[in-house]
Structures are given as structure tokens and as C-alpha cells.
């Protein structure tokens, strides 16, 4: 695991690790700053997230109100409200919706410029995405959570480890989401037009990631299959369940570990795909 991480973080293959890390850090910073320039779009998007938050929260609370024990799928009303409002905030942090930048660069051929840089494209994009997520954590996560807390009773963490585990889980979720988005975009190397795959990703990620409803509302066998068989629940459902303290400490840790496995697997796969694609570009000349 540690060895794997180190090899992933190596940016210039010959350079010392420290140089790589500072390059990576600089790229993260530029990703962060880039998004600070989209201030108006951020405000507009946050408003929209909040409106959807109201709709989803009221609907789930109505479901809870009409169940016998008031705990659909094992969530009480405070946990449901927490689930919805943190979900509306995280939605933009993990960037569940479309990211087509790479596919667009592949389509136009601009990607060749990425290959000329001394930083592997996968790492450069990951760094930029982490910077973007950091910016999102401040601008897009906080407002819906504040609104939710003002209008609904949210669950305050009862265990000390919940907050650090949640933050870790969000970080991993960003990497998992990035890995998926990168792979979806990379199909453009072969298909030329990645709009179809991107569309399926947007659709699947919303429903099967746990945005529309907590996946625990599905039959158990289906929920478990999704969790183990696809990375999607690791993007939204896991961090939200951690924050809502849906499960005991042991199971929460296990879910976050599962997330970590998906993150590593997806990055490795993305690196493999990128290598193949580069070879193809070199051989076929784009």
C-alpha cells in the first residue's frame, strides 16, 4: 500500500520525491485558484443545490413520518436530514456531474500539449482536481450545510472519530470520483466522442452513488452488490453514512477502507489506460 502510494506520487520519474511533492502541491494550488475565478457560477450552483436540498429533504422526511418506527432504512429523521444536506454540499466537491475537460482536449487534439509536460497527465489532472475539491469544500459544501442546519435538525456527531473519518472519506471519495471521471473521459482516445459514456456516468453516478435516495432503501443484496461491485457508493453514500453515523465504528472504518481500495484500483487502471492511450497516440500520430 505504502509502496503503491509512493509510486503514484512520483511525478518526474527520476526526480527526488520532495520535488515531485512540491510540483504536485503547486498543481493543487493552481486547481484551487482556477475555481476562485468562477465566483458567480459558484453562487448560482450553490443556490440550485440548496433548492434541491429542500425538495429531497422534505420528501425523505415525509417517508420517515409515515413509516411505523420513523426510521426508514435505519436512518432517523436527523440522520436523514444530515444525509441530504451534506449530500447537496458534497455533490459539487466530488463533482458528481459532468467533467468533460479531458475528453474535450482529446477530441480537439490539445491533449498532445499535456503529453509534452514533464508531469504525467494523470497526476496533473488529479492534482488540479484535488485543488478544485478543496475550493469546493469551502464554497460549495458549507452553504447548503448551513442552510440545512438552520431549517432542519441535523445530527451532531456523537463519536470523536466521526469528523476526521468523514474528512478522510471525502478525500478518498474525490479520488474515486476523479478515477471514474478520468476513465470515462479517456474513452475519447478510442471513441473520439465521449459524450455517450459521460452521459451514462452522470446518470449512474447520481442514482447508484446515493444522491437521489440512500442506497440502504434498496434490497440488501442489491445494496451490498453495488458497494462491493461498483465504485459508485464510495463516492457519495460512504462519506454521508460516516457523517450521519448510520453504522457502528467498526463497519464505518471497513467502508472507508473499501473506498480506499477502490481509489487505488481506479488510479492504477487509469494509469494503465493512459499508458495505452499514449502509445496509441505515438504510434498513430493522434
Amino acid at each position: 500500500m505504502a509502496g503503491k502510494d509512493a509510486s503514484v506520487l512520483t511525478i518526474s520519474p527520476d526526480g527526488p520525491l520532495r520535488g515531485s511533492i512540491s510540483t504536485f502541491g503547486a498543481l493543487v494550488g493552481s486547481g484551487f485558484r482556477r475555481y476562485t475565478t468562477y465566483r458567480q457560477a459558484t453562487i448560482a450552483g450553490t443556490f440550485t443545490n440548496i433548492v434541491f436540498g429542500y425538495v429531497r429533504c422534505y420528501v425523505l422526511l415525509a417517508v420517515a413520518a409515515s413509516t411505523l418506527d420513523g426510521r426508514p432504512a435505519g436512518y432517523d429523521t436527523e440522520q436523514l436530514a444530515t444525509y441530504v444536506w451534506l449530500g447537496q454540499g458534497l455533490l459539487s466537491v466530488v463533482m458528481l456531474w459532468g467533467w468533460a475537460e479531458l475528453a474535450e482536449r482529446i477530441r480537439t487534439g490539445d491533449v498532445a500539449a499535456d503529453l509534452l509536460r514533464p508531469v504525467p497527465p494523470l497526476m496533473a489532472y488529479l492534482a488540479a482536481d484535488l485543488g478544485r475539491a478543496g475550493h469546493g469544500m469551502i464554497t460549495r459544501f458549507v452553504p447548503p450545510v448551513l442552510v440545512g442546519a438552520l431549517c432542519f435538525p441535523l445530527r451532531l456527531p456523537t463519536r470523536w472519530q466521526t469528523v476526521p473519518l468523514f474528512l478522510l472519506s471525502v478525500l478518498i471519495a474525490v479520488v474515486v470520483s476523479f478515477g471514474c471521471r478520468y476513465l470515462v473521459n479517456a474513452t475519447a482516445y478510442w471513441l473520439h466522442d465521449a459524450r455517450g459514456p459521460i452521459m451514462f456516468w452522470v446518470l449512474g453516478a447520481g442514482v447508484l452513488g446515493g444522491l437521489y435516495f440512500p442506497l440502504r432503501l434498496l434490497p440488501d443484496w442489491l445494496a451490498v452488490t453495488l458497494w462491493l461491485g461498483t465504485p459508485l457508493p464510495s463516492i457519495l453514500q460512504t462519506p454521508l453514512d460516516v457523517a450521519a453515523e448510520r453504522d457502528g465504528p467498526g463497519l464505518q472504518l471497513a467502508l472507508v477502507a473499501l473506498q480506499g481500495c477502490w481509489a487505488v484500483a481506479l488510479l492504477a487502471l487509469a494509469a494503465l489506460v493512459q499508458r495505452r492511450a499514449e502509445r496509441r497516440l505515438v504510434v498513430q500520430g493522434g
Binding site: V51, Y54, A62, S66, R195, P197, L203
Partner: protein
């Protein structure tokens, strides 16, 4: 007449453009059905946990979701792409449209008519048909006319909301996803019985903005149920009125928007 032929030619060109990317077209077609399927699926999943939401059974809730789905899909098909207006304003495409001898809005819509979304319309009306079958209402002439009028009014209503939201771009090019709060947000809002919402939020969306009248009130009238929120049963028949009111607002906003664009440029 000549004008209609010109619009038909525009739509035909869009169809041919789309079919020039055949495989993407098929993929997007499937994807579009998927979006509506998931909306309905969400309703079904929620009803796994309970047999009533907001005091309504699954068939009743499905009727509301069905009217909304059918109307929204129709609106999205015809005018949904108007939300690309901000791209057009930014790229100057709007100028190219304004130097042609046709009205601007129909040109924009037909230039980009999303044929792939047609399947969604079929699916939406399919859901509505199933919901009607499940509820088996007592058919009176008034209800028969309502079942035709309700999805159409919903479509006019949602289409107008699309136009109003998109017109924002005339004043605020960076409005980003703001419009979705009212278009897609409105669709989600109207997919459930409005009894589930808190009073303030409901007051704003359901009554001030009128989203109650696109599916909730017509569904009650079809079912012959009294409104737990106290509106009389004829409120269901107010759907076309609400639709025309919003359409009038949309027409005004669009015209003002174009005038504003002319006076400020991009």
C-alpha cells in the same frame, strides 16, 4: 406559410446533423430514457419503505409523477435546449440568428431540437398511462378532458419556466446552473404530493410560482380526492390557466431579454 416551411427546413437540418453521428445518437437516446426511468424508480424505491408518502398511496403519487414526467419531457423536448442560450450569447451565435429573416426563439429551438429526447416523451406518457390504469378513476367528461389538458398544461408551464430561466442569461451570462433550480428542481418538486413540503417552501414553489397546479391539483381532481391543504376541487382545472399565465410571463421576459441584449450586446 413560407415561414413554416423555413422552420420545417431548420428542424430537418437538425435531424440530419444528429444522424450524422449515429452511434452517439443511439447512446444519448438510451441515456435520456434512463434519466426519466430513474426519476420514476426513485418514487418506487421510496415506497419500498412505506405505503404512504404525504398521505398518498403509490398509485396516487405515481399519477402526480406521471403527469409531471409526461409534461416535463414534452417541454424539455421542445424548448429544453433554450438553456444553451448562455453559450449562444457568449459565442455570438445569437448575432448570427438575429441577422436571419425569422424570429429568434423558434430558430434557436429548431437549430438544436434534441430528437433524442423524444423517447423520453413516450416514456413519460407511458408512466402516466400506467398510473391512470392503477388508479382507475371514475370517468366523467370533465375528467377525460382534464387527463388530456393536464400533461399539456404541464408542458406549457415547464416550457415557460425553461424560457424564463434561460432568459436570465441576457442579464447574467454566468448564471450557470441557476436555471436548473426552477426547471429540474420544479420537476422534482412536482413529482411528489406537495403535502410533503414545509409550509414556507410549499407556499413559494407550489402557490407563488404555481407548481401545485401542474400535477398535484389535477391529480386530485382526477382521483376525486379532497385537497388536504384545502383548495377546492376545481383547482385541478386551473392547470391551463396557470400554464397560460406563466407562458405570458415567459413571453414578456423573453422579449425584454432580447431588447436588453440589443441594447447591451454581449
Amino acid at each position: 406559410m413560407g415561414e413554416l416551411r423555413a422552420y420545417a427546413a431548420l428542424a430537418g437540418a437538425q435531424a440530419r446533423s444528429v444522424f450524422s453521428y449515429r452511434s452517439s445518437f443511439v447512446i444519448e437516446l438510451v441515456g435520456n430514457v434512463g434519466a426519466t426511468v430513474f426519476d420514476v424508480l426513485t418514487v418506487l424505491v421510496l415506497f419500498r419503505a412505506t405505503d404512504r408518502i404525504g398521505g398518498f398511496t403509490l398509485p396516487e403519487a405515481l399519477l402526480m409523477a406521471g403527469i409531471t414526467s409526461a409534461g416535463f419531457a414534452l417541454a424539455d423536448f421542445v424548448v429544453g435546449n433554450v438553456d444553451r442560450l448562455k453559450t449562444y450569447v457568449r459565442a455570438g451565435t445569437l448575432d448570427a440568428v438575429l441577422v436571419r429573416p425569422l424570429a429568434a426563439l423558434p430558430q434557436l429551438l429548431l437549430m438544436d431540437l434534441p430528437i433524442r429526447k423524444l423517447v423520453r416523451v413516450v416514456f413519460g406518457f407511458g408512466v402516466l398511462a400506467v398510473a391512470i390504469g392503477l388508479n382507475d378513476p371514475d370517468w366523467t367528461p370533465a375528467r377525460v378532458s382534464l387527463i388530456v389538458l393536464a400533461p399539456l398544461s404541464c408542458a406549457v408551464f415547464m416550457g415557460s419556466i425553461f424560457v424564463i430561466s434561460a432568459s436570465l442569461a441576457f442579464w447574467w451570462v454566468d448564471s450557470g446552473e441557476l436555471g436548473s433550480a426552477f426547471t429540474y428542481g420544479g420537476k422534482d418538486f412536482a413529482s411528489y404530493p406537495i403535502t410533503v413540503y414545509g409550509p414556507a417552501f410549499r407556499g413559494l414553489f407550489a402557490y407563488a410560482l404555481g407548481f401545485a397546479f401542474i400535477s398535484y391539483q389535477p391529480a386530485l381532481a382526477l382521483l376525486g380526492r379532497a385537497d388536504p391543504l384545502g383548495l377546492p376541487s376545481w383547482a385541478g382545472f386551473a392547470a391551463p390557466v396557470a400554464a397560460f399565465a406563466v407562458a405570458a410571463v415567459a413571453a414578456g421576459v423573453w422579449r425584454t431579454g432580447i431588447r436588453h441584449y440589443r441594447s447591451t450586446g454581449s
